[in-house]
């Protein structure tokens, strides 16, 4: 047996906030458990059969008591509800603008992570302390769940749909990464490590293409970080040209297809009159299932790329399309 853990690491701003709520709830639990246990034991002793304690004035019901012990749990519940809902809306809401964007692909039974500059990692994630990190995640097969206990962060990784979550790591160190949603035979081996690094160290790591491994980073579970040949956006641009997306989607809205420049984050009106925001999920869906949401003014003529692109290449395309800004810019723009 190696060590005994009783408290988890606390390594993100969210973890500190969640812990406060956790310990408040623990105090409530301990208080009421002791209260009921004490009353049960005290009554059981004092009013045991044959004891001489007075039973005069025993009641069958009491409206004030009933209202009282309905209102107390209700009030505590409402306080906790509001407290927790606020934190939840933060963690699953939009991240700060300066967030570092990492793409996560889950598959049976490994984690594949991609940095914007093209570094790829398997079952290991290197991030700097103090900067918000946004994860955009998708699964290639069944449902997984990205779980880092030290950050108190978990988000299911679904097939067919991007899910996002963000957090700000605070403390450099090495933390468990787990798959929390049962995903088949090797579910308990779909694990890895998250390395939170000092910003300077992280820069060195980035510059070396993920080669500079501080400390004893060689872990059996992880494989070597892939040496980047091109950033995510560059890879996406190459693919974009190769698939001849630009034949229909030009610099300006064309006859056959709308332009992708300035698309990301914009509101798009569809043929059926509804309006959607062009986020990652929308762009991905429009590549793989173009007929699901056809832009107003266009015919449903785009072929589907489902089955032709895996999640990794879809991600590259999405990253490239996201990077296309208005007015006309060259593709070298980094996101």
């Amino acid at each position: 047996m190696k060590g005994v853990a009783l408290l988890p690491d606390t390594a993100s701003t969210f973890a500190q906030q969640v812990d406060l709520l956790f310990w408040f709830l623990t105090a409530v639990t301990v208080f009421f458990t002791l209260l009921i246990a004490a009353l049960v034991l005290y009554f059981a002793y004092r009013y045991r059969r044959g004891s001489t304690a007075s039973r005069a004035g025993a009641k069958e019901t009491d409206l004030r008591l009933e209202i009282g012990w309905s209102m107390i749990p209700l009030t505590i519940g409402l306080i906790v509800f509001v407290w927790a809902a606020k934190l939840y809306a933060d963690a699953y809401g939009p991240p700060p603008d300066n967030a570092l964007e990492i793409f996560v692909i889950g598959k049976q039974w490994m984690w594949h992570l991609q940095h914007p500059n093209g570094i790829r990692e398997n079952n290991e994630l290197h991030i700097p302390a103090g900067r918000p990190v946004k994860l955009t995640m998708i699964s290639q097969d069944v449902i997984h769940s990205f779980f880092v206990p030290a950050f108190r962060i978990k988000r299911d990784v679904l097939p067919g749909k991007y899910n996002t979550v963000w957090f700000t790591p605070t403390k450099p160190g090495k933390y468990h990464l787990f798959c929390a949603e049962y995903c088949g035979t090797q579910h308990s081996r779909m694990i890895g490590w998250v390395y939170v690094m000092e910003p300077a160290e992280y820069e060195k790591w980035l510059a070396s293409g993920g080669e500079a491994r501080p400390g004893a980073l060689a872990s059996g579970a992880g494989t070597m970080a892939g040496v980047p040949t091109a950033s995510l956006v560059q890879a996406g641009e190459q693919l974009y040209k190769q698939l001849r997306c630009n034949a229909c989607h030009g610099a300006a809205d064309g006859q056959r297809g709308p332009s992708h420049y300035g698309l990301f984050g914009k509101k798009v009106k569809l043929r059926d009159g509804t309006v959607v925001v062009a986020d990652e999920a929308y762009i991905r869906e429009s590549i793989l299932r173009p007929l699901a949401k056809v832009v107003d003014g266009y015919e449903p003529i785009m072929p589907s790329y489902e089955g032709l692109l895996d999640e990794e290449r879809t991600l590259q395309l999405v990253a490239y399309i996201k990077s296309l800004k208005k007015p006309l810019q060259t593709a070298e723009v980094k996101p």
Partner: protein, 553 residues
């Protein structure tokens, strides 16, 4: 006279000796015999589920998955869940105690549809045997929740067969639910108004409504998984154009209320036992009765709290969270009322009462730890960890099984005509209480540390807590084995119980133990409020051996 004391050597006529051929049992339509059939069957399945749990705890003694392969471990925990939930927890109290007691408590000769009742047992056994067959022929590895697309497109285990088994078992619950609803509405004895009903009946009424409304949904949902699996029809798998989250909505629409199907009947038992051994009317009768109804209604609106991390909209999450805090209130009201029932009572420490006291403590912990999971932010961290595992075992074991054991001991004299041995029964209750806490308290800590559920391997630093949990499971196992022995022993050697050994109120105590086939010699007429313990004096009743009902005869 319904309760004449048997003369020495004279064998009295009752439901047990009404026929002793195998066929007389297999073709019986007597609700009491069907209850016994269910008692034997759920006990067998409980033993299977318990052995599977023991295998899980043995494997987790060490961090490396070294006792069995991951494939087998996944099958073992899946089947532990399937067997315990579908074959034990859901039917245990309604189909055994409910079947036996609902007609007796309302003063009826039988349930409204006796043949439907027998059919329910056959359907249950058919489902149970198909599930067992699937288990023996390779087992199933999806978790009891059958989440697609893993279950529909990836698992290579016996998913379809297990689903057919679960589908059938669902129908046996529906049959029982319909029978209870109709019986409680139409067959109450003269004078037995709704607010004179025992709270056991209120709880079973609420349970039956949930069963009848919820079970068809899960039955169809599981069937859709089988359809996707067999015919590759895209329903839940995104690769086929389906939506995996749709499954979770449909599944939990039943499976969260199913938690209340499992716990409400236990709450009914607690009300009966706490009143009897405190010799007092249940405090706040109307509040306890209506809290069962409130749980049944609100319980249908909280299913989304199983899905806070799935990516459902933040606002949907908030609505489900708020409703989950609301559903906690009626449960809290019940606990406070039971505790207040003991105040100024005359408390007698019999084994059923020990289970009730255990229930109160454990159910409070189970309920309050539920708040951690209803609360959105803490659920992000705790979802799918051992914290959840510990929480629902506090409800399902600390709640349902403690209630079931309380009820089984309390009505054992009524069912068999014999008393169980009190001393060893109390010892077993204490062992179960200690073993249970040792097993599951460490799991709360493991969950907070981040140990995900359904893990075959785990990090070494958590071994200590796992060892504690496994030690507790061994103790718990001993506690469960004891009643099997002493209850069987009591069938021949227990003291003769007489009609009302506890001096309890309620119509079931006004007939023989064991009751005659038609329950009552003549239809009872109810003239008093429920739990009118102030009108009944235990000592006199025991002395006369017949008590109040003798006066009626």
């Amino acid at each position: 006279m319904s309760v004449a004391v048997a003369k020495p050597g004279e064998v009295k006529h009752n439901y047990l000796n009404a026929g002793d051929t195998v066929l007389s049992w297999l073709l019986t339509t007597d609700h009491k015999r069907i209850a016994v059939l269910y008692l034997v069957s759920v006990t067998l399945f409980f033993a299977v589920g318990g052995l599977l749990a023991l295998l899980i705890r043995l494997e987790l003694l060490t961090p490396q998955g070294d006792l069995m392969t991951s494939e087998n471990y996944n099958r073992v925990f899946t089947m532990h869940g399937v067997v315990m939930i579908f074959l034990f927890l859901i039917p245990a109290i309604p189909a055994v105690l409910g079947n036996f007691l609902v007609p007796l408590m309302v003063g009826a000769r039988d349930l409204a549809f006796p043949r439907l009742n027998l059919a329910s047992w056959y359907v249950y056994m058919a489902g149970g045997l198909i599930a067992t067959w699937a288990m023996v022929n390779g087992g199933v590895d999806t978790g009891w929740t059958f989440y697609p697309p893993y279950s529909s497109s990836y698992s290579t285990s016996q998913v379809t067969l297990t689903i057919i088994g679960a589908f059938l078992i669902g129908f046996s619950s529906i049959f029982t639910g319909i029978n209870f609803i109709v019986t409680i509405h139409k067959m109450r004895a003269p004078g037995l108004t709704w607010f004179r009903l025992p709270l056991f009946i209120w709880a079973h009424y609420a349970t039956s409504v949930i069963i009848v409304l919820g079970t068809p949904v899960v039955a169809i949902t599981l069937l859709l998984v089988a359809v996707e699996r067999v015919f590759r029809l895209g329903i839940f798998d995104p690769a086929l154009g389906g939506d995996p989250i749709l499954f979770q909505h449909l599944f939990w629409f039943y499976s969260h209320p199913a938690v209340y199907i499992m716990i409400l009947p236990a709450m009914g038992v607690i009300s009966e036992v706490v009143a009897c051994f405190s010799r007092k009317r249940v405090f706040g009768y109307h509040f306890v009765a209506f809290s069962s109804v409130a749980i049944a209604v609100i319980g249908f609106l909280v299913w989304g709290h199983h899905m806070f991390t799935t990516g459902q909209s933040v606002y949907a999450g908030m609505v489900f969270s708020l409703l989950s805090f609301l559903v906690a209130v009626p449960s809290a009201v019940k606990v406070f009322n039971w505790t207040a029932t003991m105040y100024k009572g005359h408390i007698e420490f019999r084994a059923p009462m020990l289970y009730v006291m255990g229930f109160l403590g454990l159910f409070v912990i189970g309920g309050l730890t539920g708040l951690f999971l209803a609360s959105l932010a803490t659920d992000i961290h705790l979802q799918d960890t051992y914290f959840v595992v510990a929480h629902f075992h506090y409800i399902m074991v600390g709640g349902t099984i403690f209630g079931y054991l309380a009820g089984l001991h309390f009505w054992w004299p009524k069912m068999t005509g014999r008393m169980y041995p009190e001393g060893i029964a109390k010892l077993a209750a204490l062992i179960i209480f200690a073993g249970f806490n040792l097993t599951f308290l460490p799991q709360f800590v493991l969950g907070y540390l981040g140990m995900p559920r359904r893990y075959h391997w785990y990090p070494e630093e958590w071994q200590m807590l796992h060892v504690m949990s496994s030690a507790g499971a061994a103790l718990l196992g001993i506690g469960y084995i004891l009643p099997i022995f002493y209850l069987l022993w009591s069938l021949r050697n227990g003291a003769i119980a007489g009609p009302n050994p506890w001096g309890a109120t309620g119509l079931e105590w006004k007939t023989d133990s064991p009751p005659i086939t038609h329950n009552f010699e003549e239809t009872p007429i109810v003239t008093e409020e429920p739990y009118a313990y102030e009108n009944h004096h235990h000592q006199e009743e025991v002395a006369s051996g017949t008590g109040a009902s003798a006066a009626e005869g």
